[in-house]
Symmetry: C2
Subunit: 216 residues, 2 copies
Amino acid sequence: MAGVDQRAVVELLGVLAYAELTAFDRLAEDARLAPTLDGRAALARMAAAQVAHHERVTARLRELGVTPVEAMVPFVAPLDAFHDGTRASTWLEGLVKAYVGDGLATDFYREIAAFLPQPDHALVDEVLADSGHADFAVREVRAAIVADRAVAGRLALWARRLVGEALTQSQAVIAEHDRLAELIVTGTGSLAGVGELLTRITTAHSARMQALGLNP
Amino acid sequence: MAGVDQRAVVELLGVLAYAELTAFDRLAEDARLAPTLDGRAALARMAAAQVAHHERVTARLRELGVTPVEAMVPFVAPLDAFHDGTRASTWLEGLVKAYVGDGLATDFYREIAAFLPQPDHALVDEVLADSGHADFAVREVRAAIVADRAVAGRLALWARRLVGEALTQSQAVIAEHDRLAELIVTGTGSLAGVGELLTRITTAHSARMQALGLNP
């Protein structure tokens, strides 16, 4: 771990800082689709939590002598492309995106963070910790499926689109950031290690889909 | 103070809880108009602060045995009307609204809170405390005026529209909520007292306009 290139740390914190800012933005937008004031407040809380995480990560970037904007800029295009390509058009789509999409991203960042030295490993784990908001999404989606079975098929398709778009954009990010790519390759140790990482992410994704009552 | 109708407290906390939720919403929307990532993050922080305040106020409502949604519902129409009537179309308009509009609302709520018994008086004061984000709006607006004097005239007009719309909607709120109206009349003690309250609010508003470099 001692041999990790500081620039890889900065790249990971940079993508994370911008990911949190866009997640805030999108959760705030989707909050407007809420059918109830309670739902709207729940998504507003999820959005606010992202801002708190964003602040933790940017504070660390400053500590490392890096301007947060500088660290975030390289990731604006791919992350914006992800969100533009997966704009929720209903309240339920927004919830699935918040739960499935963010879950996938979180697992991915957490896997990479495991290769970082301290204190950055702990910092990333901390800002990625589930703040209990996921329960809300699960409850709402399950209730909607109980009320109308046809919803499940549509949302499962939507989730597959989220995964496809997330894969496309994360490949683009890694392809353009050698230090991040190197971190993953060195960290996993081998191609088999990369395979195991992907298996873990896929397994966790399937579990989330099942929690929602959707076929993975 | 001991004689304050509990329902007046619930009405004030209800309007405040919804005001914070809509302020979150609008700040998040205006964050997208930011010309820089720093500006976007600054507005996102202001939005997140509103959610934290919203949570404090709704927690207190629950303590008082009131469902937050129930307390908020009567204020949805007038507050939405305010925001729909004053939708910022530029980044600077959004900042002026965040600073001048929220400042006005804050002063108004704070004046009424002074008539509340504890712990609600202290709670409202606390959630209304300036979180230092105002400095950011002042800096940005002043810089824009220095760069282009014509901006000042347009923004001063915009601020007057905000004030006019705020007056219209706050009168509507008070007219429909007898307990709030009674709280103000009893609290100020007399018509002269109401006049002094309005003078204090106006003076603070003028100071904010001057801080921005705008003619009140």
